[in-house]
């Protein structure tokens, strides 16, 4: 009996040791992130005000703002979402529901997972060759948006498939048994029931795209731009204009990069301000994703 006690005491010690090691490891990550955020807040908060958000970049640090870059980021994200969501969701549905399972679809499947891991600058090189030089789309908002769309496409596909896989087979069988065609099953059942998971995946993908710098620099995004793209709404019919798609652009992370690389300390503070805006937007996106997931889980429990 005393043997048991000895063995148990020893194992409990092991448990305790791992517990402590685990806590320390977790804290290293969390504290680093916390310190970074605090540093950014202390530097950036002083610079963050209305004029900072509504001014163009300038040679003078105190007059410089992020208007053109946040508008650029917004427009790029719109193009990215409009391109990546339909393509990715459709591809995900096709692969999960329509495609026969054979060696070809297996290869496609493996490669989509691989694509998600390709360094983003490779996408930049691809876009430079294909979109800028081959299709002559220019160093425009359209090119930038499509480049990031390619980048997040695999993430959207994988998220769509994961969301579809959580739907029990019994639901599909019930829908088919009532006489649905495959499209009716997808349209009336699988799409709405997987929407939560898909949306979460899309938002996470967008929040990754929003911070991307390398591929946009590769395709030739500007680092200093003192004008806005033409507005999407006009006063004359047809009231909508797509001229902004062809406009040159900059985005927040590029603006930050530009400021950080200057010797003047005041510009570095500007970069912190821009970084703060970027991080707030990213956290907001993630919060929306969490909210959607929570609400869908409350509504649909399998």
């Amino acid at each position: 009996m005393s043997d048991f006690k000895r063995i148990i005491a020893k194992r409990k010690r092991q448990d305790f040791v791992f517990n402590v090691v685990g806590i320390v490891c977790t804290l290293v990550g969390l504290l680093t992130l916390g310190a970074l955020l605090a540093d950014l807040l202390m530097d950036g908060l002083t610079r963050l005000n209305w004029t900072f958000l509504t001014s163009f970049p300038s040679r003078f640090a105190e007059r410089a703002g992020i208007l053109s870059s946040w508008v650029g980021t917004l427009l790029i994200m719109v193009v990215t979402a409009f391109a990546a969501v339909p393509l990715g969701v459709a591809a995900g549905i096709y692969l999960e529901e329509y495609a026969r399972k054979n060696w070809l679809t297996n290869i496609i499947e493996i490669n989509i997972a691989n694509l998600a891991g390709v360094p983003s600058i490779i996408y930049g090189l691809m876009a430079l060759g294909l979109l800028v030089y081959q299709f002559r789309l220019g160093q425009s908002v359209l090119t930038g948006g499509l480049t990031l769309a390619f980048l997040i496409l695999p993430i959207v596909i994988v998220a769509t498939r994961e969301a579809l896989r959580t739907i029990p087979q019994g639901i599909r069988e019930a829908a088919y048994a009532l006489g649905s065609t495959q499209w009716q099953v997808v349209r009336h059942h699988l799409l709405p029931y997987s929407l939560g998971g898909t949306m979460t995946g899309i938002i996470i993908a967008l929040s990754r795209a929003i911070g991307e710098t390398a591929p946009l620099i590769t395709i030739g995004a500007l680092t200093f731009i003192a004008f806005l793209p033409p507005p999407p709404i006009k006063s004359q019919p047809p009231f909508i204009s797509f001229a902004w798609l062809w406009s040159p652009f900059s985005v927040l992370p590029i603006q930050m990069f530009n400021w950080v690389s200057r010797p003047d300390q005041d510009f570095v503070v500007n970069a912190a301000g821009a970084g703060l805006v970027l991080i707030v937007v990213t956290l907001l996106l993630n919060a929306i994703a969490i909210m959607i997931r929570y609400r869908v889980r409350k509504r649909i429990k399998w």
Binding site: I171, A174, A177, L178, G179, R299
Partner: protein
């Protein structure tokens, strides 16, 4: 296999007998009564999952407006047989049918290569083992099959109400038709699935172990329902519960290892089975 043929013949005799009395009763009706007594004839049915043969030369008939129970131990092919009727097997790759299932009175071979599985699913309804209501409202669950058939507006509402009444669920849900189906209890959800299956006015109602996930009270409600439903529709029920088969069915088929061992009127089957294997299963010696 001689026994099976015998079983089929006795069943035909049974039909012939009831037919006579029916003809006397319904003599005013002009419907040809010769074909309306049998709903489906299974002839030489083989079914394969890839190389695995799950059904071996099944021959039997299903009487119109009767409840036929299919019993047998797990893996005997009873669900596989049921799922042939609405061609749900076609959703999965490498499944193959041989033989015929002739649906009366249309005479269509429902597993024939020329038959569209979609049409068969339009004409059949299935209630599954686990309640599988859609994560939509109570109303939309029942309405879905009707919408697929182009029914809308007031007609849709009437059909939904009528189906919920037939499934003995109307009184419990009439005040919360807009609530999610997932707010109902398990037994209510299964009755909702029955209402959904009834709404499309199927030729045959296929139950695949409909009460195996339910408690005894919910089970007895559904059994009573099945008993009532046969006035309007031909019912086939797969069950692993022999008491259930005895309670609800007119005919019982016993399957073992993909083969149909015996099919007979339920009373006869349970009181005096013709085959030793059936007797051993019914008395609980295996399975």
């Amino acid at each position: 296999m001689g026994i099976v043929r015998l079983a089929k013949m006795t069943m035909r005799d049974e039909f012939a007998r009831t037919q006579v009395s029916q003809e006397v009763l319904d003599s005013a009706e002009s419907q040809p009564s010769g074909s309306r007594q049998i709903k489906a004839e299974v002839e030489g049915l083989n079914f394969f999952y890839g190389k695995l043969q799950a059904l071996k030369n099944i021959n039997m008939v299903f009487g119109a407006n009767q409840v036929t129970a299919i019993i047998g131990p797990s893996g005997c092919g009873k669900s596989t047989l049921l799922r042939c009727f609405n061609r749900i097997h076609d959703l999965y790759p490498e499944t193959r049918y041989e033989g015929k299932i002739i649906l009366q009175p249309s005479g269509i071979n429902l597993i024939g290569p020329e038959t569209d599985p979609l049409e068969m699913r339009m004409r059949m309804s299935m209630v599954f083992q686990k309640p599988n209501a859609f994560p939509k409202s109570v109303f939309e669950n029942v309405a879905f099959g009707l919408r697929l058939r182009g029914i809308n507006g007031q007609e849709l509402k009437d059909h939904v109400e009528q189906s919920l009444r037939s499934a003995a669920l109307w009184d419990e849900v009439k005040d919360r038709l807009r609530a999610s189906a997932y707010t109902l209890s398990g037994g209510q959800q299964q009755r909702l699935c029955i209402a959904r299956a009834l709404a499309t006015e199927p030729e045959m109602l296929l139950f695949d172990e409909p009460t195996s996930a339910l408690d005894p009270i919910a089970t007895s409600k559904i059994e009573n329902l099945i008993f009532d439903l046969k006035r309007d529709v031909t019912v086939v029920i797969v069950t692993h519960n022999m008491q259930q088969a005895a309670r609800v069915s007119d005919f019982t088929a016993f399957m073992y290892l993909g083969e149909l061992i015996e099919v007979a009127p339920t009373k006869e089957m349970f009181e005096n089975p013709a085959i030793k294997l059936t007797e051993e299963y019914i008395t609980g010696h295996f399975g």
